[in-house]
């Protein structure tokens, strides 16, 4: 079972909360390439949210190339990569980075400090992924 949590009151649309959490699970390898995501009705019932919200989140992930659909057979995690061009990726990340820099300026973090923090977060994420992979292999033995 995927451990996801939805919090209606926090100002982020529910489908986006779902998209962000699923992206995280995919990025850290907690859901593996070509594994199947829960059917819409199952996830909707588990999280107690409208099924259309799940449909929308899956569609969003599909557009981003993170999952694919098999005809009549559910939603699967893509092996890797995205259908976006390098330029599109730069544009998407550019927006995020700008928001990060603005936030940083308000909090008194300059770009150098933010870059350092980014490297630290990346290290944590890699560690998490490695641990997941180890768990996975351990489970398969």
């Amino acid at each position: 079972m995927l451990h996801l949590s939805i919090n209606p009151g926090d100002g982020v649309p529910l489908y986006l909360q779902l998209v962000q959490q699923l992206k995280h699970l995919i990025a850290t390898g907690r859901v593996r390439p070509d594994s199947e995501l829960p059917p819409v009705r199952v996830l909707a019932q588990q999280l107690v949210i409208n099924p259309n919200t799940v449909v929308r989140a899956y569609r969003e992930l599909e557009v981003a190339g993170l999952v694919y659909k098999r005809r009549g057979a559910g939603t699967y995690v893509s092996a890797k990569g995205t259908p976006y061009t390098d330029e599109e990726c730069r544009r998407i990340l550019g927006q995020r980075i700008e928001a990060l820099l603005v936030e940083g300026r308000h909090l008194g973090f300059d770009a150098d400090k933010i870059v350092k923090l980014v490297m630290e977060c990346d290290r944590d994420l890699r560690r998490e992924t490695a641990r997941e992979n180890a768990n996975e292999e351990g489970a398969q033995v």
Binding site: P8, G11, V12, Q45, N50
Partner: protein, 305 residues
């Protein structure tokens, strides 16, 4: 039946209702399309239950019209009630019966009763068929009510405050059953609630009712897309918040204000900057915040003309 998906399952047009001098409903119009979950929210006494009673045919429209599955509820109650599942807030059930007797008793009224489904649901809801109704907890009562309402496989489910007085666990179980019945059986659901986060979770469409009138009628997606909440800071203290494009609710004092707006986000941003405001934070308001903005206090909380 409306298999096409184009005809509304429920159509309420210009419905008004007075109890003596008290206006309970005032020119209410809306449609519920097939397979949608329609959330009805409002304060106690706003008119939610009166509206539900019209959908069930327990009240005849004094003015305007009500159609459910193309039928006027008061004209043909028998036909309609066989196609509606209803759970009332007070969950009125014969207290001396055991659950299995309640099922047998209810079954007699419905040719389409699905006993296998009812038994499967009993297990899933962890209800003991031998338990007496009067010995059930509030949560179990609500579950038994839902079980009875769903087991004749009605295309329409009406729930009047299904979560009222229940703890979080029972609430979740009830909602999960409703969601499954929507996802697996394409059922159309109308439910009233004063729990805004619950409505935000499960509703496709939302009607906010206030003093008998619809204060807002929109899809949940549209509500999120068209409402914005901003924290705005001013260079000096403000005694009152000036007019600004799209602003429907403000809260605050002095230099810092929380502003909820509806409509063109860029236009409101410009308007706020034009009156000397600096936008510190911008987010999508929760349904609760939209409800406060739309119902509890229309702009600046003063008397609405």
């Amino acid at each position: 039946m409306n298999e096409q998906g184009t005809e509304p399952i429920i159509a309420v047009r210009n419905l008004s209702c007075h109890f003596g001098k008290k206006v309970a409903l005032d020119g209410v119009s809306f449609e519920v399309r097939p397979g949608r979950v329609f959330g009805l929210v409002g304060e106690n006494g706003a008119g939610k239950t009166t509206l539900m009673k019209h959908l069930l045919g327990a009240l005849t429209p004094q003015q305007g019209s009500v159609h459910v599955l193309g039928i006027e509820p008061t004209r043909n109650p028998a036909t309609l009630l066989s196609k509606i599942g209803y759970v009332s807030e007070d969950r009125d059930m014969p207290r001396w019966m055991r659950i299995k007797e309640l099922l047998r008793y209810t079954q007699a009224f419905y040719p389409d009763w699905d006993q296998a489904y009812a038994e499967r649901m009993l297990g899933q809801l962890r209800l003991d068929p031998n338990a007496k109704i009067r010995a059930l907890s509030r949560g179990e009562l609500a579950k038994a009510g839902l079980l009875v309402a769903l087991s004749h496989k009605p295309p329409v489910l009406l729930l009047d405050e299904p979560s009222s007085g229940l703890d979080a666990v029972a609430r979740r179980e009830i909602l999960a059953v409703v969601i499954r019945s929507v996802a697996e059986e394409g059922r159309t659901v109308v439910f009233s609630s004063h729990l805004l986060d619950e409505v935000e979770r499960v509703a496709d469409d939302v009607a906010m009712i206030h003093a008998g009138k619809l204060a807002l009628l929109m899809s949940m997606d549209e509500i999120r897309a068209t409402h914005h909440r901003r924290i705005v800071e001013f260079g000096k203290d403000l005694d009152a918040f000036p007019e600004a494009f799209g602003v429907i609710h403000v809260e605050g004092e002095g230099r810092e204000w929380a502003v909820v707006s509806h409509g063109d986000a860029a236009a409101t941003r410009q308007a706020l900057e034009a009156i000397g405001g600096k936008i510190i934070e911008e987010s999508t308001p929760s349904l609760d915040a939209v409800f406060v903005a739309r119902v509890t206090g229309a702009r600046s909380g003063e008397a609405v003309a």
